[in-house]
Amino acid sequence: MKLDVVHDLQSVYRKVVNATSRPGMISNLSDEALSVENIPVQCAASIWVLALTLLDQEVTFKVYSAQAEKASRAINQLTYAKPVEINEADFIFVLSDAEEGSLEEAIELGKHGTLMNPHNSATIIVEAENVNDGVELLLSGPGIQTSTSVNVCLTGDWIASRNQKNREYPLGIDLMIIDKEHQLLSLPRTTQIIENRVVV
């Protein structure tokens, strides 16, 4: 089945809205992702679905991947969005085959907006192994009644980088984590993360 750019992308958008307004609630994009034919690079189809939902000629992006050039060209051809340097990008994709430390670099160098225009900030879309099975994270903030926990399998010290980047609210970056099963976890800048380390 072919992806319907009107109705499928609308349903992706609504799932992204739900995930972003209720951080910790995991949305499943597999229905839409499975209708994508011919993925140009090795990555989860849901990454393409998100790119099609959010990107067009009005925005810029940057890709971190072992095949970054190929992926950039493909996204550009698919959406007409313009590939740029990291510090200018509206959307940053960090694919699972990216070098170690890429996510931290993306968080550190991505634009975090200005106090006058905090919305001019990067949205980072990360491909993770799993958002259901991994390190337990305790989330709190707007969209969460008291606190909620998620288990994210994503390597590196990204939580510390994110805390450092988002320290001066309303400046900050917004994260979307998508896994191989097309499950989406959205962590807008308002969400506070506490890593729940088990002490043995």
């Binding site: 609308q10 972003t20 939902t53 200005t114 006058m116 919305h119 707007p142 609210y169 309303p170």
Partner: protein, 285 residues
């Protein structure tokens, strides 16, 4: 359904632009995100902001409710419903709990909203500081610096002049301890419903080209002073003349035969629903 138009009226590019702005609005609660605000087949200032949000969100399985100052049947609500139905074919409802999207002008429904619903409010003037600062560049700077003394001063002046805060509607609120926000001209009675709301609340101002949002479970505090606390309108000892409800927001009407003041639910679908349930119990004949 009129297939001469795109689904939900807009082209996909327009929807994407509104969607991107909306997502940033959700990420920064209370901050007004500028957006392009396309031309609509209704005049700017007549609900185009809310309508654009609705059209960018709506899908084939949604159920839409549109209200205008509590009424499902006013001209503005009916025409917006017609436009959305003609271009999407979605089901329209008047029952608050059946709706997945609720577009509203100047009221939050009486029936508590749930987590599967999105409330979209139409906003005429999104800038809470506009009353005393006409320049957008200056109000943006005030927001950047969290410089809100003017907002409090405005309320202080009202207390000095009239003995109490006289904001009838659109009483400014502080969102997530950061942004002062115009809640749209909802009565003060509805302000507390925004605090830790279960439903996502999106606000759209078409003429002023701004969207902003209150995610669920977000702290929303109406501005006030220690010695002059915020007080919603009270309708103590008042009762709806039709359904007998108490503790809801009433319209104050004049009974033309007796010349006396009578009260009636402002939320028409709530009133009808209450009437129907009373009737089903055999209460009213």
């Amino acid at each position: 359904m009129n297939t001469a138009y795109n689904f939900a009226f807009f082209d996909e590019g327009s929807k994407r632009e509104i969607r991107r702005a909306t997502l940033k609005a959700i990420a920064i609660p209370g901050y007004q995100v500028p957006f392009a605000s396309r031309e609509m087949p209704i005049g700017r200032g007549w609900g185009t902001g809310g309508l654009q949000l609705t059209l960018s969100l709506i899908g084939k399985t949604d159920v839409l409710k549109v209200i205008d100052q509590g009424s499902d049947e006013s001209v503005n609500a009916v025409n917006i419903k017609k436009l959305v139905r003609d271009t999407t074919g979605v089901e329209i409802t008047e029952l608050t709990r059946e709706a997945t999207l609720i577009q509203s002008r100047h009221r939050i429904p009486e029936v508590p909203l749930n987590k599967d619903q999105i409330l979209i409010l139409q906003v005429p003037i999104p800038e809470p500081l506009r009353f005393y600062e006409p320049q957008e560049s200056v109000t943006k700077k005030h927001h950047a610096e969290k410089e809100y003394s003017g907002a409090w001063l405005m309320l202080f002046e009202q207390i000095i002049k009239y003995g109490s805060m006289t904001t009838g509607a659109d009483h400014p609120v502080m969102v997530h301890d950061r942004y002062v926000m115009a809640p749209s001209p909802i009565p003060r009675f509805d302000n507390p419903k925004m605090n830790h709301s279960e439903a996502l609340i999106l606000l759209g101002a078409g003429r002023e080209k701004k969207v902003y949002a209150i995610p669920p479970y977000t702290k929303v505090v109406s501005l006030d002073f220690h010695d002059y606390p915020f007080e919603p309108e009270t309708f103590q000892d008042k009762q709806c003349r039709l359904c007998g409800s108490t503790g809801v927001f009433f319209d104050e009407l004049v009974d033309e035969t007796t010349g006396g003041t009578v009260y009636q639910c402002n939320d028409t679908s709530y009133c009808i629903e209450t009437l129907n349930s009373v009737e089903a119990l055999g209460g009213v004949k």
